[in-house]
């Protein structure tokens, strides 16, 4: 049970990291508060943001709450979308999409392992655009989400199926590439005991580093 001040802050924190609108019901369960109390607190927060002239709003969408950019700033956001993200994302997005297409199903961590960078944002974009979707869960303890391409992706590339992807055959990777790939995609940490490499190494939400003795 959280007091109002802490509950308000907790709601802010949860909604800030949420990808989807979160219902008062769920927030209530997490914070051990009645849904009505959550609704009240969210209304208070929304009005506070409004009064203090924040650039974002707390909107109630599809039965849940989420942060959005303030409508009157749409011009700036549009500019960001058009000028900011496109150029920066395309190469990264394409590589990520290609990896998912050829190597599916694979986890976020496995993609990150191949690309060497955090792919959370790019993957999220690809999901939003409907090219990539979650196709299952890893059977291991962490149950990492496994990703694959969609039928929209095939459609947009004019492919009948994944079998129509251009073969990689004429490209003969050196043994080191093959090894790196297999290491990256190997489902278990068999080869790296002691370095402990579960499949979801790229998960965004936890400390990865541990100074253990």
């Amino acid at each position: 049970m959280a007091d109002d001040a802490e509950a308000r802050r907790a709601i802010e924190a949860i909604l800030m990291v949420a990808d989807q609108p979160i219902e008062a019901q769920l927030l209530g369960e997490l914070l051990e508060l009645a849904p009505q109390r959550i609704e009240d607190l969210c209304t208070e927060l929304a009005s506070e943001y409004d009064v203090t002239g924040r650039g974002f709003i707390l909107a109630k969408v599809a039965g849940g709450y989420r942060y959005q950019s303030a409508p009157d700033l749409a011009g700036h956001v549009e500019r960001f979308v058009l000028e900011g993200q496109s150029a920066r994302l395309s190469a990264a997005a394409l590589e990520t999409l290609a990896i998912v297409a050829y190597k599916q199903p694979l986890s976020r961590g496995q993609i990150a392992a191949i690309r060497g960078v955090n792919v959370d944002g790019v993957l999220r974009t690809l999901q939003q655009r409907g090219f990539v979707t979650e196709v299952g869960r890893d059977t291991g303890p962490g149950q990492a989400a496994m990703f694959g391409t969609t039928s929209l992706f095939l459609e947009r590339l004019g492919l009948a199926g994944l079998g129509d992807l251009p073969p990689l055959g004429d490209f003969v990777p050196g043994p080191e590439v093959v090894e790196a790939l297999e290491q990256g995609l190997r489902p278990s940490g068999l080869d790296d005991l002691g370095d402990d490499e579960p499949a979801d190494g790229g998960s965004p939400d936890a400390g990865l580093l541990d100074g253990g003795p």
Binding site: E95, L97, A98, R124, R129, L190, D195
Partner: protein, 284 residues
């Protein structure tokens, strides 16, 4: 490769729980020995180190038994490397030759010690730095990033990521993504780099031993000035022992090491070729 129906078994293996201290390298072990046990490196008992290694190995094997797991060779061999390094360090002290030390040798010893000392200090520095990084990461992991991305109305606005993308470009992107991987190389920088070659030493021994038949190691190395040469000769001798060309015999703990040639003259050259091909990598 492209068939998504390929069955992949996403099981995971937990790392071995290690109750005894695991050392991350010879420097690590030395640090531990010196800092915590306050011992003189050269007082460290070799048999203790070897015993610890064997116990650790047994434990790893036992841990792997009855499971689908394999013995982790990386762990096993790394530990072996530590033990071997310490044995080499100690052996270099104990081998004959040091007793003929002149001023140069003495200076050399101090230089060597200074080098080792700076290595240990560097090792300790990064150990502590690693701890600080771990702490930073621990703190950072308590703050989760927003990754919600664009709101729906802006999605239509966003540039079409697949505009102009063909299947071929997709393949090229894939190849680009997987291409820049470093070439694995066998790192031998931790091995002693030496001007003396084990191969050369073997050749000398192969020439000398059949003639003398039986000789003590001390006499065998009496003409050598540099301790390093003695070490190299010792390694060459071990190699010949492995090849079954010599027998090594020690009457007791503090006794002379006796070397006995047991190889046939005829097979000498052939075996030498074979043997030296295998050991030249030690030369650094």
């Amino acid at each position: 490769m492209v068939d998504p129906s390929d069955e992949v078994n996403y099981t995971r293996v937990m790392p071995y729980e290690v109750s005894t201290p695991v050392f991350e390298g010879p420097f690590d072990l030395l640090l531990h020995l010196i800092m915590r046990e306050q011992v003189d490196l050269y007082e460290v008992s070799l048999s203790t180190i070897v015993d610890a290694y064997l116990v650790e190995l047994d434990r790893l094997v036992a841990a792997a038994e009855g499971t689908d797991e394999r013995l982790d060779l990386d762990v096993a061999t790394e530990f072996l490397l530590i033990a071997a390094t310490l044995i080499e360090l100690k052996a270099r002290r104990l081998l004959p030759g040091v007793h003929d030390a002149d001023l140069d040798d003495e200076l050399g010893l101090w230089e060597e010690r200074d080098l080792l000392l700076s290595k240990l200090l560097e090792c300790k520095t990064f150990k502590d730095a690693a701890r600080a990084l771990s702490q930073l990461s621990e703190e950072a992991s308590r703050s989760f990033p927003r990754t919600a991305g664009l709101e729906d109305p802006f999605l239509d606005l966003a540039p079409d990521l697949l505009a102009g993308v063909t299947a071929t470009r997709l393949r090229d992107a894939f190849l680009r993504a997987v291409a820049p991987k470093p070439v694995p190389t066998v790192d031998i920088s931790h091995l002693h780099v030496s001007a003396a070659s084990v191969g050369d030493a073997m050749e000398e021994l192969l020439d000398e031993l059949p003639r003398v038949g039986r000789i003590s190691f001390r006499r065998l190395t009496s003409g050598l000035v540099e301790r390093l040469e003695v070490v190299v000769r010792f390694l060459a001798l071990l190699e010949l022992f492995k090849q079954g060309l010599v027998d090594l015999d020690q009457a007791g703990s503090f006794a002379e090491l006796q070397v006995v040639w047991v190889g046939e003259d005829a097979e000498r050259r052939d075996l030498a070729q074979l043997a030296m091909a295998g050991v030249d990598a030690y030369d650094g």
